[in-house]
Every structure is written in C-alpha cells, then in structure tokens.
C-alpha cells in the first residue's frame, strides 16, 4: 500500500525559527532565542504592505543619494516607506552597507538588522568593499549574517552592487533551471535521469528496467517495492 507523499505533514511552517541576537555577538549558544524583534510573524513568505507587489525596486528614503542607484538602470525603482533599504520582491529585501561607513559606525548595521528582524525569506546584506583591508570587518559581518539569517553578498564597485539589486528583482520569479544540470531532451535521457534520481538505481539499471517495463508499469512497481517509500 503506497504511502501518501506529504510524508511529513509538518509543523515546519509554524516552527519557531531562531531569533536574531545581534546586540551581543559571540556569546549565546545556539539555543538562546529571542523572539524576532518587530513583526513576531515568522512565516517565511510574508504578505507585505501594499506597494510591495510592484514591478519596481522599492528604495527607502534613507538611500537617497546612494551612488549605486545610478547603476540600477535595467529595472525601474521608486522611493517608498519601508524598513529595509531595498525591497526586491515579495519576499526579498536588502540592506546596503559600505565598508567605509561600517568602519566609522560599527553599530549602525546591528541596529538596522535588529529593526528588520525576520520579515523576509531572503534578506540580503549587500556590502560594498571599498576599503583597503576589509578582512577583519568582513569576518565579523559573516558571523553576524549567520546569526541574523542574512545572505551576505559582496560587491566591489557601485556598478556591481547596483547590478545585484537589479538581478534580485529581475530573477524574483525565475525558476532554477539555469542552475540545474542540463539533460538531453530526448525520451531516453529524461527517463534515465528520472529513474536515477532514486538512490539505488544507476544508469544501467534504469535502462534494463525500462526495457523490461514501460514507464507506466515501471512507476507503480517502483513505488510498491520502492526504496524511498513514496
């Protein structure tokens, strides 16, 4: 009897994810959780305030005059009232940090991250490397990003930083096909690829299975004896 496939009707979506502990960095064992700062809503895909579902990058007024905006040319952008610096999609946002600024005001980014909490599924910390010896600062930022669940992205020029913003917005809905292995588009390759995704089947197995059974016969058999218990 085949088992149904939402094998885990999971509590994950409601799961209490860890909160950010930003004020004091190194201490705090992993378990020490503080509820997320602002929203208290830990749903990874939040529905945002009106205006979020736009085709534009929404830019916080704080970013007015940032030279990277000059390089956001392929995607329209507009100012809006938002917590992060940039809203790059329904579930994506970014904070911008110039290392030069960070060296002068090391507390700034802590405060911003704390304010942001965990509102978005993908929270990018876009860092522009514009100092000569960035390594110490980058190390601290890397640790911070792990604690605060941020994706650290480095850019070495305003052009590059602008390009990242554009790309995040442009790829908001893009499937991951670009990142996947390319499979020949003929039937045999697809079937082989498909069958070998099951752990205990290799390419030869797949072919011999296929020559013995057709696809429609093969699939239920696989499920009944299945190594994976789908």
């Amino acid at each position: 009897m085949p088992v149904s496939w939402p094998a885990r009707v999971t509590a994950a979506s409601s799961g209490s994810r860890e909160g950010a502990v930003l004020g004091e960095l190194p201490p705090g064992s992993e378990a020490s959780t503080v509820p997320p700062a602002a929203s208290g809503d830990s749903d990874p895909c939040p529905t945002l305030k009106p205006g979020a579902k736009s085709n534009c990058i929404i830019v916080s007024a704080r970013q007015r005059g940032n030279p990277i905006l000059k390089f956001v040319r392929n995607i329209p952008w507009e100012f809006g009232e938002i917590v992060p610096d940039y809203v790059l999609g329904q579930s994506t946002c970014a904070l911008f940090l110039s290392l030069r600024y960070h060296n002068l005001n090391p507390n700034y980014i802590h405060e911003r991250l704390q304010l942001l909490g965990k509102t978005y599924a993908v929270q990018v910390l876009l860092v522009q490397v514009d100092v000569k010896d960035p390594h110490q600062a980058l190390k601290e930022l890397a640790k911070m990003c792990i604690l605060a669940d941020c994706t650290l992205i480095l850019a070495w020029s305003p052009e590059e930083a602008g390009r990242y913003l554009e790309t995040y917005k442009a790829y908001e809905q893009k499937p991951a096909d670009l990142l996947k292995e390319k499979v020949d588009q003929d039937f045999l390759s697809i079937v082989t690829d498909c069958l070998t995704s099951v752990k205990s089947v290799n390419k030869t197995d797949a072919l011999s299975l296929l020559s013995t059974f057709g696809v429609s016969h093969l699939l239920p058999i696989r499920v009944q004896t299945g190594p994976c218990h789908c």
Binding site: P2, V122, T151, L188, V191, C194, F213, G214
Partner: protein, 916 residues
C-alpha cells in the same frame, strides 16, 4: 675518482662511480639533516638515488615526498638495474586503507601520495614512531604545496628522532620573496643549508678535470632575420614603456628588455599584476597579452623556418583584423618592417613576370603555377647549414676512427618535438623539399582539408604497416637502406601532417600532445623487443633515429612525457658527438656530469647558437640568474639566524605547538568569576577529497582536531548544524554552470539546519568576483553574479561566506565553532539521500519531489499542486489526460506528462532510432 667506500657504504659495482663532489654532498647530508640546493643539472637526482639505495631495506621505513610518477619509475628502474632487492614501493589510492598499515610496517622506501599520507598521519594509520625519516624532493615547492609541510609537521609532532632531508635544484625559486629560503627551512624543520652551485670550488675543479671537448659555433643570422629581430625588440621596448607608463607601481628592474625575452617573464609579470588584476584597465591587459605574443615571435624566429614564422605573423594580422582588438603596435614602423622582411624570406613579388615564368613553373607544381605573382625565395635556416657541416665533419672523422673503436654515435638535441621533426626532415630530404612542403601546406589554397584528410588516412595506414614490419626487420640484422629510408619518410609523414594539420599555434600544441600520447603506446610495445635490437627501438616517439651507422638520433630537450627520457637516451646511446641545436642549461650540465662519470671516453659537444641573437641572450640570462640566486643564497646563509629548536626534536619548537589554548578552553571572561567549564577538544569533520587544499592543515594548526572521512554531503562539518561546501573561484564558476552546486545545495539544505557556501579566494589573486569593466550593460544570465543571485533566491537558508584566503577561513571556522557542540563523524558520514531531513527544508518527501521534477511537464510551480492532489505515483499513472490538465491547470504540461508516462519502451527506442 672519489672514495666510494666512505662511511662504510660501498657502491655497487654496476653503478657509475660516484663523483667527488657528490660524495661530499652525500656525506654532509647523511651526517646532519638539511636542505641541499644544487645547481640545475648537477645531478640532484643522483644524490637522492644514493639515499634511496641506502634505505632500501626492510629495517628502515623512509617516505619520499614530492616525486612524480615518472620520476618514481625512473628511480625504481635505476635501483633495479643496480641489483637492489627490496625495491621502493608506491602508496597510492590503489592500495586500500586497510592494507596500508601492512605496507608501512614492511619497511623500505615508500613513494607516497601526499593526500594519503596526511590522512594516515591524522588517523594514526601510519606507525609514526617507526618511521626512519622523510626525504623531500623538489623542496622549493614546500611553501606553495601545503600538504607536504603538513605531513612534516604531523611527523615531527609524533616522531622526534626521524630524519628530514630535503633536495632541490631550483635555486632561482629562492630568489623571489622575502627570506624565502628561511621560510622553506622552517617548513622543513631543518637547520642546515647546503649550497652546491656550479661555481663551488669542489664542483668546478672536479669538472674542470673532465672537461668535454666543446666546439662553439656562432652562426650568424641572415640580414632579414636580423632586421626582424631588431623590429621585434623595438616593439617590445615600446610595449614595456607603455606598460610602465600605465602602471607606475611596477618594479622597474624586473621589466627590463633582457628579462622580457626570457621565458619566466610571463610568470613575473602575472605575479605583480594578479593581485590587482581586477583594477587594471583593458590597455594594460592587452599589453601583457602583446608581450607574450612578441616573445613567441622572437622564439619562432630562431627556432623554426621562414614559412612557419610567416604563417604566425600573418595569422596574427588576420586575428587582429577579425576581432578588431589592437593595442597599437601593429601600426608601428617596426612592425611594418617585420612584415616586409618576414615575407621577403619566403617570397618576393616578381617584377618581370614573363622572364621568370618558365623558371617558376619548373620549380613549382601545378597549383602554384596559377599564382604567378609570387616568386619563392624560401630562405633556409643558417643553423641548418651549420648542422649539415657539423654532421659532415663528424662523418669524415668517423671514417678514420679505428683507433677509437669504430665510428662514434651522434646525438642531436633540439628544444622541442617540432624542431626535431623539422631537423629530421631537413637531414633526410634537404632544406628545399622541407620548405616547399611547408609552403604548400600552409599557403596552398585549394581543398586543403580534403587533401589533408587523405594524407592522414595514408599516414595512419602506413603507420600500421611500419609497425607490423618491425618484427621481421628487427630479426634481420641487415636492413636495406632504401626501405629504411622509406619507413622514415612514412613515419615522418605522419608526424608532420599531424603537426601542420592546423595552422594556429595553440592547435598545433594540442596536436603535439595528442601525437605524443598516440605514439607512447608504440614506445611501450617497442620497449619489449629491446634486447634483440636496440637500434630500432630508438626510432620511437621522442627520439628520431636517422642513420643507423653511425647511429644518429635527434631528441627534444623539453616536452617529453618522461622527464628522464633524454637521460636514458644519453646513457643508452653513449654518444661520442653531441650537437646542441638549442642550448639548455640543465642538459649542458648533465653532459658535464656524464663526461665526468665516464672518464676516458671521448665526448665532443657542438654548440650551435646564433651570435648576437635573443636566443644567446636568453641562455646567458638563465646562467646569470642562477648565479645571482646562489650568490644571494650564500649571503642569506651567512646572516641566517637559526634557532636551536628548529628541528623540533624537543618540545620547544613553537611551530609544532598547536594553538590549543584558545580552542579547547573556553576562556569566557563574561562568565562571572571564570566559572569552571568543561573543556572539550574541538573537532571538525573534513571530507577526504578536501585534503588537496591547504585549509585542513591550517585548521589543525589552530588546535582543532580533524576527522578525515568520506562525506556525501558537504566538505566541512563544523557543528551538528553547520555544513560547509567550500568552493574556490574556478570551482564556483564550474559548479554553478554544470549544476553540481545546485544539487549540493539541495542536499545540504535538506540535512543541515545551516547550510553554508564558502567562497574562497586565492590570496595571490585579486579579492574580487568580477573584474572592472567586465560588467555588461544588461543583466546576463551567464554572469557568475547572476547565477549566485539565483542560487540565493532559491535557497533562502543558504549562507554565504567570502574568504580572502585559507588562513582567514580557518580563523572564521574557529570562531563559528565557539560555544557550539561538536559534530559527530558517524552521523555526518551516514548522511545520504535516505536520511531524515531537516524539518525546515521541505514538507514533501524529497525523493518523490526530485523524481517528479525530472518528468517532462512538471516544473517547480505545478509540482506542489500535483503533490497535493495526487497521493502517489501509482495514482498518477492511472489518471487520464483530462484529469491531469485539470490538476495542472495547463493542457500542454498535462499532455507532456501523460505522453511520457504512457510511452512504451519499444516506441521510445524506435523514436530514438529515427532521430539518429
């Protein structure tokens, strides 16, 4: 000469008598550990060989690091021919981990793959206390190649008595950088430095006694060649000046014209520019490229014939035109003069067509007759003429050589395979025929491809014939001259058609590789028949036999797959005459040693060199560089301060102390009153394959224990939650393109709470992902940054670490581990696709989701819908097409899915066939 019985080690009689200075090197190093730096070609391999011979016995266990398989082969061969019983063995991945302990305990000399040794030391699979010592070959590489240094450190930590002896013949490598030699010695844990330059008094006086007869022939270049050389040097100079102008920071001394014509110049310039490569303008980059091209031109000028040179020049012009990139040097006056003269060496546009016509048509074949304008000049290489004269002289001397015991063998050495092939053709067929053929091949316009193909086929056939002929021929002692000649011609046909198959330089080089591989199998088959007839053996890939009596052989100096090919030939053939068509320092020295080791045997060396050419200059520069390097080493040695505990035989060497305080004791000042805390040994689980990189050694040094296991998911496991996939920049680009990183991220996010991608930069290169000015106007999906963006969008939990160097990574790892629990190797190893997944990752069964996603018609968007509506795959196959389109909400997808499921194998096969 030389007392062979020193230190009670009598040399076996088979072996050539050890030379005076070699004895001294050996004894010095035998009595006290150290690093020997010896002049190039002075026989560092012979010294290592003596140590190997000494330790080839079951009672000792000696490891040899840093040897290549070809070198190991050579050493084992030599020892075998010396009658050594307990031959060295190799420890590679072919020996399973369970058997390795046994191999180690059997003793003797072991050539071991470094990666395996590291793992065995870490897991205590190797009995460290039983090791007699370690010999390090090519010791100058110890700084760059981290594994060997790691092995030595592990060895010294566990074994305080064993010896460490290191060998290198690359003095120039120590010339760069600050205190290079001292850092090397520190990594080697040795206190003594033994320097053996060529000008060392013992070496010099000894070799002086056994000097071979040297005839230097300064060939003068033709006026056209001279003009071309001057033009190229002019252009080089201009380019260098430009380069300096654009990059004032570059060290002026290294950018001299003299250095610019040498081979290592590319490396030097990259060494300076790589760290700031992303900041350089397009102009500098193209200048660097141009310098490279110009150097190639210079080399071609003296190395090859006029046709090959012209071809290169013309193709340069063509590419410049085609791609429109030009840094300007093509417009210089000098370059015009270069073009004119390059052409003038091959042909001239005749003024009076009619008068020449008859002459021309006599000379040329039918195709050429159509091209009346060009009258061929085909200037011959001056060196060729010189070579012919030398050979004549040798021949005449060989005629009346009864008192020397018959005619002497001749060995001709040229720098690469291509030159050798040309020389061989020249000697057999003459200059005119060779140049004519090259000309037709390169500039003959009609259906070249087809013709070539036919020729290739013929060549392959004839090769087959030649091969099958070989057996009977070898048995017949007498080979008719004509058939021999014939065979050579055929073979050569093969060589040259393949070489000239494509006209572009890079392609040719590739072809050469292929050719070598192709014929190496032949060599092996020939090797077997060696004892019967060894004259024929020599007509194999690397060496080109020409005449049988006296045996004349052409051999390339570089580019052989076996680095000892030339040495073997030298000792097998025992030539009386050596003609150096191209000078190479190592081989010249090797000849000296060879002469000294066979006193009484006459040896005459002919040097062919273009007087006043860049070729000569290059040779002299290499000589001078080595001399300077040694002088610097001598000075450094004099002022070097070496701490008593350097060898690490007691507990005081700080290099051996692992930084364990910070790692084990959690000195948390914030904990009130410094409360007693249980100190735990920190551990990181590392994938076996990661031991090629420097990182494990650096982690180990920080006092963190390393557990080498084979991991299916991730490279480093820091804590039960943190899993890290390390990518160097090239890896990152490669694995983003081929889909590997995507699947790695999928599995990491499935089984670990904190999946991390570590992007590790090369500290010697620029710390940047994209170079300046390489950004396109539009977003391009091919850009590495775009793919990285897409990756982070699809894996929201994936964290990214950017590390400028392995050192920074190790530091970060240590900090990430602070106050977290230790990972469990057994759990990490057991993680495969069947393991339990992390709740956050997915609410569906990952196996069936993967499976579904691969079926046509199912994509990331409709996958979840499908999984919500259909209970299992067996239910899926019972659904009708209509039902499917209802679920998927898309008729096209539904049809694809339905068709895929209900297609029979027979159908698929027949469809596949019709497609093909």
């Amino acid at each position: 000469p030389g007392s062979a019985t020193a230190a009670g080690l009598s040399a076996p009689p088979v072996m050539a008598a050890p030379l005076e200075h070699e004895n001294q090197v050996f004894l010095d190093l035998f009595h006290q550990d150290g690093l020997v730096i010896c002049a190039r070609g002075l026989g560092i391999d012979r010294i290592l060989l003596r140590f190997l011979r000494l330790y080839c016995e079951p009672a000792s266990l000696v490891l040899v690091l840093n040897t290549s398989p070809a070198e190991e082969e050579y050493f084992i061969d030599q020892l075998r021919s010396d009658g050594v019983v307990h031959l060295p063995r190799r420890v590679t991945n072919e020996i399973t981990s369970n058997c390795r302990y046994e191999v180690y305990t059997q003793g003797g000399v072991l050539f071991a793959t470094s990666r395996i040794l590291v793992v065995d030391f870490l897991t205590d699979r190797i009995p460290s206390n039983l090791i007699t010592g370690i010999l390090v070959y090519k010791a100058h590489r110890i700084i760059e190649s981290c594994q060997e240094a790691f092995i030595l450190r592990l060895f010294r930590q566990k074994n305080k008595n064993g010896f460490i002896k290191a060998f290198t013949d690359n003095a120039i490598a120590f010339h760069t950088g600050f205190c290079h030699v001292e850092r090397v010695m520190r990594n080697l844990f040795v206190r003594k430095l033994y320097l053996w330059p060529r000008f060392h008094i013992a070496v010099n006086s000894f070799l002086e006694k056994h000097k071979p007869e040297v005839v230097e022939i300064h060939v003068s270049m033709t006026p056209a060649m001279l003009t071309i050389q001057t033009s190229i040097l002019d252009i080089l100079n201009v380019c260098l000046r430009e380069l300096k102008r654009y990059n004032p920071a570059l060290e002026v001394e290294d950018l001299s014209l003299e250095n610019a014509i040498g081979k290592p110049f590319d490396k030097t310039i990259r060494h300076y520019l790589d760290p700031l490569w992303h900041q350089l303008g397009a102009k500098t980059k193209s200048l660097v490229q141009d310098l490279k091209i110009l150097r190639t031109l210079l080399q071609y000028l003296t190395q090859y014939d006029c046709v090959t040179f012209l071809n290169l020049v013309e193709s340069l012009k063509a590419t410049e035109k085609a791609f429109g990139q030009n840094s300007g040097w093509l417009f210089l006056d000098s370059s015009t003069s270069m073009f004119v003269n390059a052409r003038a060496r091959v042909y001239r546009i005749s003024d009076d067509k009619i008068s020449k016509k008859s002459k021309v048509s006599e000379k040329m074949d039918i195709k050429e007759r159509k091209e009346l304008k060009r009258e061929l000049v085909l200037e011959s290489n001056p060196k060729w003429e010189a070579l012919r004269e030398v050979l004549k002289e040798i021949e005449s001397e060989n005629k009346n050589s009864e008192d020397l015991g018959g005619p002497g063998q001749v060995l001709i050495c040229a720098s690469d395979d291509r030159t050798c092939a040309q020389l061989r053709e020249y000697i057999i067929a003459g200059a005119e025929a060779l140049l004519m053929r090259l000309y037709n091949k390169t500039f003959g316009k009609d259906e070249r491809a087809g013709e070539e193909w036919i020729k290739d086929r013929k060549a392959v056939k004839s090769k087959g014939n030649a091969r099958s002929d070989k057996g009977p021929q070898a048995k017949k002692a007498k080979v008719e001259a004509s058939s021999k000649q014939n065979k050579i011609m055929k073979k050569q046909d093969l060589t040259l058609t393949q070489m000239m198959g494509k006209t572009e330089e890079e392609n040719i080089e590739e072809e050469m590789e292929g050719y070598k591989e192709l014929s190496s199998s032949e060599e092996i088959s020939i090797e077997e028949t060696k004892p019967e007839d060894f004259h024929l053996n020599l007509a194999s890939d690397a060496y080109y036999g020409i005449f049988k009596t006296p045996l004349t052989i052409i051999h390339p100096l570089q580019g052989c797959s076996d680095p000892y090919a030339l040495t073997r030939v030298l000792h097998e053939v025992e030539p009386r005459y050596v003609v150096l068509y191209d000078a190479e320092l190592t081989f010249v020295r090797q000849l000296e040693i060879y002469k000294a080791s066979k006193p009484g045997k006459p040896l005459r060396v002919y040097f062919l060199i273009y007087g006043g050419s860049t070729e000569e200059q290059r040779y002299l520069t290499v000589l001078r560089k080595e001399k300077e390097a040694f002088e610097k080493l001598i000075r450094e040695k004099a002022s070097m301060v070496i701490p008593e505990e350097r060898e690490g035989r007691d507990e005081t060497n700080l290099d051996l102390v692992r930084d364990s305080t910070s790692a084990t004791v959690s000195t948390d000042t914030r904990k009130a009153g410094g409360q007693e805390q249980k100190s735990v040994q920190q551990t990181i689980i590392v994938d076996m394959r990661e031991f090629r990189s420097e990182l494990p050694s650096l982690i180990h040094r920080r006092g963190i224990d390393i557990e080498p296991v084979t991991l299916e998911v991730g490279d480093y496991i820091l804590t039960p939650d943190i899993c890290i996939e390390r990518k160097s920049i090239s890896d990152l680009i490669g694995s983003l393109n081929n889909g590997r990183l995507y699947s790695q991220c999928i599995s990491m996010s499935r089984y670990y709470k904190r999946p991390i991608l570590l992007i590790e930069f090369d500290p010697s290169k620029s710390f940047s992902l994209t170079s300046r000015g390489s950004l396109h106007q539009e977003i391009s999906s091919n850009d590495i940054t775009s793919k990285l963006t897409l990756l982070t969008l699809h894996f929201p939990r994936l964290r990214i670490l950017w590390c400028p160097s392995p050192h920074a990574t190790a530091e970060l790892f240590e900090e990430l581990k602070q106050n977290r629990s230790q990972p469990d190797a057994a759990i990490a190893m057991a993680i495969t696709a069947d393991s339990e997944i992390v709740p956050e990752s997915d609410k569906y069964n990952p196996g069936s989701k993967d499976f579904l996603l691969k079926i046509p018609g199912v994509n990331a968007k409709n996958c979840h819908v499908l999984m919500n509506h259909v209970k299992s795959i067996s239910e899926l196959v019972t659904l009708s097409q209509d039902k499917l389109s209802e679920i998927l909400g898309n008729a096209v997808n539904a049809k694809q899915l339905y068709d895929f499921i209900h297609k029979s194998y027979a159908e698929a096969i027949s469809q596949g066939k019709t497609k093909r």
